[in-house]
Amino acid sequence: MTQSVVVQVGQCGNQIGCCFWDLALREHAAVNQKGIYDEAISNGIKFNFISLSQAVLIDMEEGVVNEILQGPLRDVFDSKQLITDISGSGNNWAVGHKVFGSLYQEQILEKLRKSAEHCDCLQCFFIIHSMGGGTGSGLGTFLLKVLEDEFPEVYRFVTSIYPSGEDDVITSPYNSILAMKELNEHADCVLPIDNQSLFDIISKIDLMVNSGKLGTTVKPKSLVTSSAGAVKKRHQKPFDAMNNIVANLLLNLTSSARFEGSLNMDLNEISMNLVPFPQLHYLVSSLTPLYTLADVNIPTRRLDQMFSDAFSKDHQLIRADPKHSLYLACALMVRGNVQVSDLRRNIERLKPSLQFVSWNQEGWKTSLCSVPPVGHSHSLLALANNTCVKPTFMELKERFLRLYKKKAHLHHYLQIEGMEESCFMEAVSSLSGLVEEYNQLDATKSMPVEDLPRLSIAV
């Protein structure tokens, strides 16, 4: 049984992390009730979620973390696994990365080591943060280097919330670009998510739920946006629904590692199969279904619809259209009552409408987990390594350049020790390099697939 450590950094990271633990508790409580796990199995595997993962909470201002500690989840978190400060990073990557980084490096290392010691077999770190702010962005990415040096064998999965176009933090382009460089160099796998897409998904759900078009009611707990409810009562704050989507993403990602299935997929397999070249480790994700109708007998058509939806641009958690871009690899993680024949049928059905790179025409990684998420009979998480992330990065670069040309707000950064203009230049060129790699792959898109001449040997 492998464990992961979740490191939640900054306001965004901690709020999402909180939702994640909430839902994880709910999921394991539901599963244990059904008595699927027979503890008489002598191997002594316990699906006790607390022994499953450890959490480290980091924030440079106390508000959010304190709230977590006073809430119903306070017993879940070991108060010794927190690192907080008072002043906050002022939405400044440099403060988060350079100032707090060096200030708290020892403390952070110590907490991480302790978490790792609690783990029987530590497989991966999940870092949750936003790109646009100061702490999540700066300190969060500082952590990556620390983790790489201290635990080189442990995978680093990063869930990054990218700022949308109308972000209220003016310096978010600077913070994002500076953070991108770190992600390029020190993360194993990045799941970019943007707020606008999450918001669109919520609007879509609201529309479906309230329209009454379908004539049947939607199961309340089955909304991918709903919080546990049973475990904790809290006022639905504006970002709650969006955070729940991300929390569901993380739950589904780890489901095959936590539960049984006929075709298991561990976290290290994600990196192995979806990262063909070390730099190209950005995965576009989509979750379906967004809700379940109350009628129990879901015919096959509904199941196939789930697969189709996973590839539509409305279900992606980042503004991207994978169908019209080039796939390098694609993973389908299915949960619930779905069998291999359903999976094969849908892959064969959808394949003609998708473009895969020439050397990976059958670039599918599949997994089947028997346990569905709470409130659903089946669900699908699709992870795609696709060139459709390119526009997001290019837009980010545009916004950065617009600010940088005017030297707006630059002094806040440059006055921090260790920050120079070259840092910005390096970060931009790192991003440009990445975009160039995607461009090269895109150029091969419409070329015919040729079989290369094989090795000829003397018989």
Partner: protein, 438 residues
């Protein structure tokens, strides 16, 4: 003579369980369609081969379960124990906490050496329980990390340590449309390594078995459990005891002594096993199948007969009738009227390569004792050009990927360098060429 089974990885362990279950169920089938004495001899032979005895009478499978993460092995162990009919040995399981991540290099270069001693010890213990060891049956997949990488490593070790015993690997060929993205790399590395250390490779393609489930068995929603059960049935009908040359009531002692002419390459292919039909029409089908050039779209339409009337199978042959050349064929017949079956068609020289006489290349094993609930059943194990196309396809795809250097960094991280890949490609190209030139 006994067989020790080594089940590796998720696939190996899931299938292994079904195989032992099928073997047990068959040997304890009440019918048998033969004399009581014969039935008892059959049961005893089966028992000796695959199970060892425990005090309270519950047979223990002669198997070692190996996986790098615990979920599947614990499932297999508990399913067997819960059945109450047979079980796995309490200490026959080797497990770690973290899997191989679909990485052949990790399975071969990291897990292999690290756990070599523990795994070989377990196998040794199982071997010591046998009165006489016939050989090893290693069940693994090619696409993943543990079954493929660790499987190749273990097979090599078995070759070193037990060079006199036969090693047969049951390998599962992944779905053509992709189960694991790096499956072609893993397959190429596995096959090239197994070629050097295994005596025989028994191949089952997921696509083929899936088609059997869909078309012949009409299962609507096919699960891996269905697929594994079909596989287990096929293997059971091949490995259960049959008469030795001395005649009935003496069961063949060496179960793995299949056709001796494997000097060229050791590929075999278990064709579909047909039930409840006359041997003649079934055998006709087999011959047609052997003769036609291997093409994925061979359409089998055999319906179960009504009241014993034979049905005609429809085989759509390729337009150009190439003969699929065989090196060796083995037909296994079980059940009623087994002695009157006409096997003349199999001795046609046209089926075999020019440097072989049919008499050397064709073998038949029989028993009157029926398999499971089928009045008659027939199985064909063939070493021929059947696998040429799938093999060629896999090598081609792996080569294309290799040319772009995709995913190579994942393998070099754990010690498998580009030269190792090239060596593997070279070996497999030789195999492809050899089969082509039959």
């Amino acid at each position: 003579m006994s067989i020790v089974t080594v089940q590796l990885g998720q696939c190996g362990n899931q299938i292994g369980f079904e195989v032992f279950d099928a073997l047990y169920t068959d040997s304890h089938c009440p019918q048998g369609l033969c004399s009581k004495r014969e039935n008892e001899a059959y049961q005893a032979s089966c028992k000796e081969r695959f199970f060892s005895e425990e005090e309270n009478g519950v047979p223990i499978a002669r198997a070692v379960l190996v996986d790098m993460e615990p979920k599947v092995t614990s499932q297999s162990l508990s399913k067997a124990a819960q059945s109450g009919r047979w079980k796995y040995g309490q200490h026959s399981c080797f497990c770690q906490k973290q899997g191989s991540g679909n990485n052949w290099a990790y399975g071969y270069s990291v897990h292999g050496p690290r756990h070599e001693e523990a795994i070989m010890n377990l196998i040794q213990k199982e071997v010591e329980k046998c009165d006489s060891l016939s050989g090893f049956f290693i069940i693994m997949s090619m696409a993943g990390g543990t079954g493929s990488g660790l499987g190749a490593f273990v097979t090599q070790n078995l070759q070193d340590q037990y060079s006199n015993s036969l090693k047969m690997n049951q390998i599962i060929w992944p779905y053509g449309t992709g189960e694991v993205i790096v499956q072609n790399y893993n397959s190429v590395l596995t096959l090239s390594h197994l070629y050097r250390s295994s005596d025989a490779l028994l191949v089952h393609e997921n696509d083929a078995v899936h088609k059997i489930c869909a078309k012949l068995m009409n299962i609507k929603q096919i699960s891996f459990s269905d697929i594994n059960q079909v596989l287990a049935h096929q293997l059971g009908s091949v490995f259960q005891p049959t008469y030795s040359v001395e005649g009935s009531c003496h069961y063949r002692r060496n179960p793995l002594g299949i056709c001796p002419l494997f000097n060229l390459s050791n590929k075999m292919y278990v064709k579909y096993t047909y039930r409840n039909i006359f041997f003649s029409s079934c055998l006709e089908l087999f011959i047609k199948c052997l003769a036609s050039f291997p093409l994925i779209g061979i359409d089998w339409q055999v319906r179960p007969p009504l009241s014993g009337l034979p049905t005609l199978g429809k085989v759509s042959l390729n337009r150009e009738l190439h003969f699929n050349t065989s090196i060796a064929n083995l037909v296994i017949l079980r059940g009623k009227d087994v002695h009157s079956a006409d096997l003349g068609g199999f001795k046609d020289p046209a089926l075999y390569t020019s440097w072989l006489e049919p008499i050397h290349a064709f073998n038949v094993w029989k028993t009157q004792r029926a398999f499971s609930k089928y009045e008659k059943s027939a199985a064909l194990v063939s070493n021929s050009q059947f696998l040429l196309k799938p093999l060629d396809t896999i090598v081609g795809k792996a080569w294309n990927m290799f040319a772009s250097k995709a995913y190579i960094h994942q393998y070099t991280k754990f010690g498998i360098e580009e030269e190792d890949f090239l060596d593997s490609f070279a070996l497999l190209e030789q195999v492809v060429a050899s089969y082509c030139n039959l």
